[in-house]
Amino acid sequence: MAEHTPLSLHVPAPPTEEGGRQSSSLPFSAAGAVRRPPVDVDPREIRDLAFELIRVLDDDGNAVGEWAPELDVETKRNGLRAMMKTRAFDSRMMKMQRQGMTSFYMQCTGEEAVACAFQSALRKGDMNFPTYRQQGLLIAQDWPVVDMMNQILSNSADRMKGRQLPVMYSAREAGFFSISGNLGTQYIQAVGWAMASAIRNDTKIAAAWIGDGSTAESDFHAALVFASVYQPPVILNVVNNQWAISSPQSIAGGEKTTFAARAHGYAIPALRVDGNDYLAVRAASEWAAERARRNLGPTMIEWVTYRVAPHSTSDDPSKYRSKAEEKGWPLGDPIERLKTHLIRTGEWSEERSVQLAAELDAEMSAAASEARALGTLHDGPRLSPATMFEDVYKDMPRHLREQRQQLGY
């Protein structure tokens, strides 16, 4: 024990290829392999689930195992439609960004199943505290896409009055909390909201959202501690899309364990789920929501998925990650996977898919025209700069009235 060689710093070094890094995620379980415990299970008895991967859809599109949800055809088709609509929305917005109609956009390509299927497990009155990559929560409930576009174009009808960066929606009515540009802050807020619901003996539940990279933020820990102590009705979602801008999940602590496992130290049960499997997402979401509604407390869910697109329109992943990995869609395309399942069960066809895609594209195009007519970042109708002084406080104090006058309004 006496002599020791010099120390050295470990810096996670994922495999590089083509000048970029790979995300190197942990191994997967087979579809149907993971058991489905009752919702009132003792959290200590399901620690293993944080190291498995709940999957329902196998490679051939069969729904297998205990987690396969019993859904009617309509529900599944709606799920497919929601995901396809989300992707159509993204693609339309990318076009508009390239045309200079907005300053900024963020896609969720490849992650559509997570938000779309999760939303279908919520009820009116429940509240999501989303990140910028959960547009699917709004689209899955058919929130008017024109309203979202108005925000993105920062036009005269933007309910956020042009104050927020594009995609930082807020929609109280849709159970969608105002998105913050500061990563992580919403996680503990969701816990506080759920505590409030419990304090008021309400029946509403909350859902917290965070990315793999952002789990390193302080609010993540605060949320877990408070959730552990007060056992409020909250679902703690971690969307592990393997990347945080240029940093693979290993830089967030995912090199040797899973994010789901974080929950254990707080006596919170955790699931790790294939986030590109619509049926698995739906089943796990319902399981966690039911726990929350029965006052059984918080559940953490790590959704394993993959960020196929660049981080945002300001980002160029060719500088930091392997093209091969990116092109390979590591967990498959959630839309393709559900489509295959529906076709296999005789509930859908390639033709109907093509037709639906065309319909959705037309819908987006019409919505885009409608939104554009209300103005874009640089053109058309525009909110008065005087609105900048509103809503800082409920009532405008004297110093802000003076400043507004100085600006000439």
Partner: protein
């Protein structure tokens, strides 16, 4: 009317509010079962139950972050930070979240909430139990910052803060908790019961946020003060015999500039005092505004008497604290005919 200490007045404000409004909840470190290290929440858990008054984990981030979520739900949370010196871990939630929620969502979500915290020195608490961080709040658009100097105002302002639709930072000068300390640390402690502003009605009342008050009328010089320093200013006026007009700001943002301007236009001289570090303290804003608005009335520059630009020391507390002697010297300087 019963005489109350500052602690009792603050407790009464929360009690009255919890009684009237089921949405009011109170929490913080040691706040529930024990009733707070300064006893401000004593008895509230017993009276209203553990789901309306409870202990929290030691996470200021969590306390304020949870409060933002509760406020978004529709509760009226009152979060206690055990000492203002420990608010920094909560600063992101205060600045980036509570303060901006209404603006960024254009009223879709709001954060009507109060963050209470004891501030200021004078109890030999050294650098981490003595700070006055008000300027770190006044720089942040969307926050209201309130600091009472006596039990009557404390209750009225706290009720007003709880009922306010915006996030309010409520600073409690801890050296005033048990008596109207005027900076003469070597004299016997005076209890609140001897002070007229300790008359605190049992029932609900408010003192409006955004309104200063002239504590002492005078013609020689205007003194702008708040919290403990109001009493120090009174002592300095008495000690020097200078006929100072002492304004107790009570609210720093939004500032009652009219009361200030009216007074300075009358006196032509102005001294600004606070306990916080000098550079970029709230006194800088006051001095800047007074010279902007009253320039042609000013006979002398606006003077600042403040804590020094050092961390709050332990043994040299009274050398750091801007007591009646230093304030008195500034009054003399400001009123000197040269």
């Amino acid at each position: 009317m019963p005489s109350r200490t500052m602690i009792e007045a603050i407790r009464s404000a929360m009690d009255v509010s919890m009684e009237r409004d089921e949405r009011v909840v109170v929490f913080g470190e040691d706040v529930g079962f024990f009733g707070g290290v300064f006893r401000c929440t004593e008895g509230l858990q017993k009276k209203y139950g553990a789901s309306r008054c409870f202990d929290t984990p030691i996470s200021e981030t969590g306390i304020v972050g949870a409060a933002v979520g509760m406020a978004a739900y529709g509760l009226r949370p009152i979060a206690e930070i055990q000492f203002a010196d420990y608010m920094y871990p909560a600063y992101d939630q205060i600045v980036s979240e509570a303060a901006r929620l209404r603006f960024r969502s254009a009223n879709d979500f709001t954060a009507s909430m109060v963050v209470r915290m004891p501030c200021g020195g004078g109890i030999f608490g050294a650098q981490t139990h003595s700070q006055s961080p008000e300027a770190l709040f006044t720089h942040v658009a969307g926050l209201k910052t309130v600091i009472p100097s006596n039990p009557h105002d404390a209750k009225g302002l706290l009720i007003a803060a709880i009922e306010d639709e915006d996030p309010v930072i409520f600073l409690e000068p801890k050296r005033l908790y048990n008596g109207p300390f005027d900076g003469h640390y070597d004299r016997p402690v005076v209890p609140w019961s001897k002070h007229p502003l300790s008359d605190v009605p049992d029932e609900h009342y408010t003192v409006p946020i955004g309104k200063a008050v002239v504590r002492r009328e005078g013609s020689a010089v205007t003194v702008l003060a708040y919290g403990t320093m109001v009493h120090v200013a009174e002592a300095a006026a008495q000690d020097t015999g200078i006929d100072a007009e002492i304004i107790d700001l009570r609210t720093l943002v939004p500032l009652d500039i009219d009361t200030i301007v009216q007074s300075v236009e009358k006196t032509g001289r102005c001294v600004v005092i606070h306990e916080a570090t000098r550079t970029s303290g709230f006194g800088a804003e006051l001095a800047a505004q007074v010279q902007e608005r009253c320039f042609y009335h000013l006979e002398k520059p606006v003077l600042r008497v403040t804590g020094w630009d050092t961390p709050y020391p332990h043994i040299h507390e009274w050398d750091y604290f801007p007591g009646p002697k230093r304030v008195g010297e500034a009054l003399v300087e400001a009123t000197a005919k040269d």
